[in-house]
Symmetry: C2
Subunit: 322 residues, 2 copies
C-alpha cells in the first residue's frame, strides 16, 4: 500500500526535482500539494506545480495555493538569481489543464489529515507558513500525522541566507518554531547534508536526453541552477536540498548520521534570527539520541542521492499500475 | 625587545596554565593582569592570580580586580564543577605577599595603553567585561593597542554553555560586542580549535614531577580539570582553551586556518543569545579573508599546543635575564 503524502513547496528548481521524485516513488501516494511563498511568489510556485504535474500526466493531484507571506513580516522577494524569474530556470512549460483548488494549502492539509488520519505524511521544502497556519487552525493536527520531514536549517555548517540561518526556516521563523514544537515525529534535513549531495552534469545530461517530459523539463531547469552553484562548488553542479528531504521521507535514501536532539528556532531580532538551533553538544564521542529531543536531524546520508534520483526520474515513463 | 602584554582572566585552571605560559615566554613582558568574573568571582580569580604570580616569583606584576558582573545582568555563579570551588582545582597555594592595586582592571588597562602606546597587546581569556568597560571609559583605547587576542566563541562547533554559545562570550555578550566592534586588530580563538588542543596525563605528569612551583601547582590543579573532561573526551585529559589564546598571541603556536571574517555577537534574548556569529559562508573552496572582516578566527593550529606548553612551563626555572 502506497503511503499518503502531502507535499508543501515553493516551486523552485530543486522543488521541481523533489516533486518529480515523489511522482516517481511507488512507496507513496501524492495526495496533495500546497504552495507557499519562498523561492518565488506563492502564486508562481503553484503555477509551476500545476504545469509540472500536467507534464507528468498527474493533473489529478489536488494543488492548493497557500500563504503568500510569512506569519510575521513580508514576502522576501524570492530568489530569481538562483531559480530564475519564473522559479524553474526560465524553462517555459505548457499551461496546465487543472487549476488550484479553492481551499488554501493549510485547509487542504487539514482535510487530508482527516481523510488519511494516522497515515498522512508531510514533506515540506519551503518556508513553513502553511504548516504553521494549519497548526494554528487546528492544534490537534499532529495527532493525525504519521511523520513530518522538512528541508531546512544548518546545524554545524554556515547558513545560506545569513551567517547562521538557512533560507526556508529564516523566511518564516515563527511558523518554523510552531512546526518544530508541535510534537509530531519530525525529521529535519539541513544544509549539512543537502550540500553534500550534489547533482552533476552527467546526471543532468541523462535527464535532458530523456523522452519523459517532466524529467527533461527539470533537467533543462537545472541548467540555470548549475550556474548559481559555480561560486559555491567551483564547477557547474547543484546541491540537492529539496529532493533529499523527499528521498529521506520516502525511504529511498537512508540517513547515516541522524541524532534525535532538541531543536529550537531563533525568533528573536538578533543576528541569529531564523537560525535552527540544534543542540549537538556532548555528541563528540558518538552520536546519541537525546531523551529531551523533538527532532531527528539528518547530518549524513548513507549513499549519494544523485544516482538514485536520476534512476527514479528516468523510470517515470514506465507503467505505474495506478 | 619583549612586547608589553596585558592579560585579562578569570583564574580558572586553564587561565592558570595561560598565566604560567605567559610568564615563561620571553617574547612578551607581562605588564599587568586584570581579573574578571567568570569561572570564579572576580575576587577569587584575583586572589588566585596573585598567589600564582607569587609562586613564580613575579609579585612585581601589577594585578587589578575588575568587574564582578557583566555589563547587563548578574554574575553567572562560576563553574565550580569544572575548576573547583576555589577555581584552581582545590589546590591550596600560599598567600601572596603582593595585593591587588587600587585601580580597577579597566583603569589599569587604560593606563598601560598610554604607557605602552602603540605597543600594548591584550590577551583576554574570560568574559570581556573589563575590556568593554575600558572601551566605554575611553573609546580611543584601540588606537593605542597593537593586537587583541580573545579566547571565545564557537564558529562551526556546538557551544559549551548553550547549544551555540561559548561561556566567555555568553557571560557578557554586550561587552563582547563592544570588543568585537572596536576596530582593533583582533584574533578570536574559539572552541573549534581549543577543543582540538588537548593536554594529556603524560604532559600533566611532567608538570607534577617538576620542582618549579608554579608548574607543579598547575599540574596538580589539572587533576580536577581532567575529571571534568572525561565526559567530553572519554578519558582523563583537558582542552587547552586559555593557554592556546596566549600561545597564539605570543607566537609560540601558529594558526593553520584563520580566515579574517565578519563576526558579530548575538545580544538578543533568543536561544542564540551569546553566540559568536562568525560569517564563514562562501569558504567552501578554500579559506579566504573577507574585505568586510573585523576578526581573525583561528579554526586550526599548525601544531599541537601541549608539547610546547609543557616545554615552556618546565623551562620556567631557568634564568630569564630579567
Amino acid at each position: 500500500m502506497a503511503r499518503p503524502l502531502y507535499f508543501d513547496c515553493d516551486t523552485g528548481i530543486d522543488d521541481s526535482l523533489a516533486l518529480a521524485y515523489l511522482l516517481a516513488s511507488a512507496e507513496i501516494d501524492l495526495v496533495g500539494v500546497g504552495g507557499v511563498h519562498g523561492n518565488v511568489t506563492a502564486a508562481q510556485g503553484v503555477e509551476n506545480t500545476l504545469r509540472l504535474l500536467d507534464l507528468a500526466g498527474r493533473g489529478d493531484v489536488p494543488v492548493a495555493q497557500g500563504a503568500s507571506a510569512p506569519l510575521v513580516g513580508e514576502f522576501g522577494g524570492g530568489a530569481a538569481w538562483i531559480h530564475g524569474a519564473n522559479g524553474i530556470g526560465e524553462v517555459e512549460l505548457p499551461e496546465a489543464a487543472a487549476k488550484a483548488i479553492s481551499d488554501d494549502a493549510a485547509d487542504l492539509l487539514l482535510r487530508l489529515s482527516h481523510e488519511y488520519a494516522g497515515e498522512l505524511e508531510i514533506v515540506a521544502v519551503g518556508p513553513l507558513t502553511n504548516l504553521g497556519l494549519a497548526l494554528q487552525r487546528d492544534p490537534s493536527l499532529p495527532e493525525r500525522v504519521r511523520a513530518v520531514t522538512v528541508m531546512g536549517g544548518a546545524a554545524l555548517v554556515p547558513g545560506n541566507i545569513t551567517a547562521v540561518a538557512e533560507a526556508n526556516i529564516a523566511h518564516d521563523p515563527e511558523a518554523a518554531q510552531l512546526v518544530i514544537a508541535a510534537g509530531w515525529p519530525m525529521t529535519l534535513v539541513p544544509l549539512d547534508t543537502t550540500l553534500e549531495n550534489q547533482f552533476e552534469e552527467e546526471h543532468r545530461a541523462q535527464l535532458v536526453a530523456s523522452d519523459i517530459p517532466i524529467a527533461r523539463a527539470v533537467g533543462e531547469a537545472l541548467d540555470f541552477y548549475f550556474d548559481f552553484y559555480v561560486e559555491l562548488y567551483g564547477r557547474r553542479s547543484s546541491a540537492l536540498h529539496d529532493p533529499l528531504a523527499a528521498a529521506i521521507a520516502v525511504g529511498g535514501i537512508q540517513p547515516a548520521v541522524a541524532p534525535r536532539v532538541p531543536v529550537e528556532i531563533d525568533t528573536a531580532d538578533g543576528p541569529s534570527r531564523g537560525q535552527t538551533v540544534c543542540d549537538l553538544r556532548g555528541q563528540r564521542r558518538g552520536w546519541v539520541d537525546r531523551a529531551d529531543a523533538n527532532v531527528r536531524v539528518v547530518l549524513e546520508t548513507a549513499t549519494q542521492l544523485a544516482p538514485h534520483l536520476t534512476e527514479r526520474l528516468l523510470a517515470l515513463g514506465a507503467p505505474r499500475g495506478r
